[in-house]
């Protein structure tokens, strides 16, 4: 077998020495408009996918509604809730768990987005996104924002239905809760994105349900006030305090009643930055987990 490398003279002449090679005239850098176009393209695609998957929309609503209609009704008498902030009086259990159910929608939506990223990677459509010339962090943030937009839409539909179930915060609360939901959605979506970089196969995603979603949801203030948890288990109480989902729920709960929870805000912002930063690193071909896995 000949190992000789053939490089005809014509080719050699056509390949100039690096120092002699002129770089092409620069294209103008991508404008803000180009970034916005890219952003709207990614958000638009997620919206279209959401519209095409009506079952996903229905199931995203059915889950919290079942908790509201059945679980909350059943436990109304068992789990009495005393006056806790931000509530100014005694409330029904349905009212108490509504912010937790909002968190549930955002949590499942974040994990659903990460599931779709794993699916995209398996089917190859993720490559279309990743070979875009725009910075990868921007592409990932756009995808994250698209997922949050879908989640927020689901929450408002849920709140509209819950209104008929006597869950009726003051009207300004519906507006106040929007930034809180966006922030909580970003945090949970970032976590999902980070997990999607660690999960190599769609089949492995079931583990995420068992090891992430359920522990996060149950070890939080979503279903019971933390003072009740503390009474029964100080250890569980500590775990709940360290669970970022607790703070996401509290941020939403306070915002829904037009109040601001600084501690929850700081924890959610900090966790968002940490999860998103780690996800961006994981998807960076030069430094990320994905790169290392493929190259190891």
């Amino acid at each position: 077998m000949s190992e000789a490398k053939i490089t005809p003279m014509a080719t050699r002449e056509a390949a100039p020495a690096p120092e002699a090679a002129a770089t092409p005239r620069d294209l103008p850098p991508f404008s803000l408009s180009a970034y916005l176009t890219c952003f709207s393209g990614i958000v638009g695609r997620e919206g279209l996918r959401f519209l095409h998957q009506r079952e996903r929309f229905v199931s995203a609503l059915v889950r919290p509604l079942l908790w509201l209609f059945i679980f909350a009704a059943g436990f109304r008498q068992v789990l009495g809730v005393s006056i806790v902030t931000p509530y100014k009086t005694y409330i029904l259990y349905e009212v108490y768990i509504t912010p937790g159910l909002i968190g549930m929608i955002l949590l499942f939506n974040g994990m659903q987005s990460s599931l779709s990223m794993v699916y995209d990677r398996e089917t190859g459509t993720m490559k279309t996104l990743l070979v875009s010339p725009l910075p990868r962090w921007f592409l990932l943030v756009s995808k994250l924002a698209a997922g949050v937009a879908v989640g927020v839409l689901q929450v408002y539909v849920f709140l509209a239905i819950a209104w008929f179930w006597e869950v009726r915060p003051d009207w300004p609360g519906y507006l106040y809760v929007l930034p809180a939901m966006i922030l909580a959605g970003l945090m949970l979506g970032s976590l999902g994105m980070l997990l999607s970089s660690l999960v190599q196969q769609l089949e492995n995603f079931a583990g995420i349900m068992n090891f992430v979603i359920f522990p996060m949801y149950f070890a939080s203030s979503a279903l019971y006030p933390l003072w009740r948890v503390q009474e029964s288990s100080p250890l569980l109480y500590t775990i709940c305090l360290f669970n970022p989902f607790t703070h996401a729920v509290e941020l939403v709960r306070f915002a829904l009643y037009q109040q601001f929870n600084l501690q929850a805000f700081l924890v959610v912002v900090g966790c968002t930055v940490a999860f998103l930063g780690a996800a961006i690193l994981a998807y960076d071909p030069a430094r990320g987990v994905i790169a290392r896995k493929k190259q190891s």
Binding site: A20, A22, P24, L48, R49
Partner: protein, 291 residues
């Protein structure tokens, strides 16, 4: 159509472009437009890549000159797809350097990738979206506004029967049609270099011929450079350049005639067999299409 809209010297721009003198490698004074033409569309220099202890690419170096149709010829497992993953920055280049039209992929990925169009070996269209939605999504990822994208779709698909099916979901198309849409998509943002990773894999003979013809037409009309990875000799034209890749190493690079002549072969098929030792030349000659 201004196919050189990325700022390169096009036919219409040539006279307007200031030509500052510069120096070539041997100290000869050349003007700027000449120097630009010398920059390869793709320069791969000393690139190696491993999966654990298995070396997929070993010190690979070659160039794709501007305006050329270069076939990256190698059997399955030669390292073609790994090379494509590196050139598209899906994998990080840890050893060696890759430049696209002079822009280093590591240092200036945005500038490099915006000049690149890719057709991957596996299907990458979203089957739940319509053809138009797939194309405009890709355009948006390159910062192209909807109006410009629609105009561009009209330009590329002018006269094609696919133009009538833009509203249909991608999943309704045949394999060959899906592949043609992926090729159209790769041209959407007016790249200067197109990579195609075995684009005819899994297609019937007629579809393959159509794809090859379609790409050659687009290459001619759009004046782009092409790197076409294949293991099918009959997709290579006598006027093409060829890079033979085997076991992660470049065994030969040059015009088809030069490679054939250097191996004292009668055909590129025979030259390939001699270079790789995969089959005796007589056996290779009997092989209809697939090596």
């Amino acid at each position: 159509m201004d196919v050189f809209s990325d700022g390169w010297v096009g036919e219409t721009d040539k006279e307007k472009t200031p030509t500052k003198p510069t120096m070539s490698g041997d100290g000869r004074r050349i003007d700027l437009s000449e120097a630009r033409a010398l920059v390869p569309a793709l320069a791969v220099d000393g690139v190696s890549h491993s999966y654990g202890s298995r070396k997929a690419l070993d010190d690979v170096s070659f160039t794709v000159p501007q305006g050329s149709f270069t076939a990256l010829l190698g059997p399955n497992g030669a390292g073609k797809s790994t090379l494509f993953s590196l050139v598209t920055r899906l994998f990080n280049t840890r050893h060696g350097e890759i430049r696209i039209l002079g822009y280093p992929l590591q240092g200036r990925p945005t500038e490099a990738l915006r000049r690149l169009g890719v057709v991957f070996q596996a299907r990458t269209l979203d089957l739940d979206l319509s053809i138009r939605q797939n194309l405009t999504y890709h355009a948006a990822l390159h910062g192209m506004k909807r109006g410009d994208a629609d105009k561009r779709i009209g330009e590329i698909l002018a006269g094609s029967e696919l133009a009538e099916r833009l509203g249909e979901k991608a999943r309704n198309l045949s394999g060959g049609q899906l592949r043609r849409i992926e090729i159209v998509r790769a041209f959407m943002h007016r790249p200067r270099l197109i990579l195609l990773d075995e684009p005819t894999t899994g297609l019937d003979i007629r579809s393959r011929a159509e794809i090859v013809a379609e790409v050659r037409r687009l290459v001619r009309d759009e004046a782009v450079s092409v790197l076409w990875a294949t293991h099918l000799i009959d997709e290579i034209d006598a006027s093409d350049r060829v890079v033979v890749l085997h076991h992660g190493k470049v065994l030969a690079e040059g015009a088809v005639s030069d490679v054939t002549e250097a191996e004292n072969a009668q055909s590129i098929r025979e030259a390939f067999s001699r270079l790789t030792g995969l089959a005796r030349p007589s056996e290779a000659a009997e092989t209809e299409t697939v090596l």
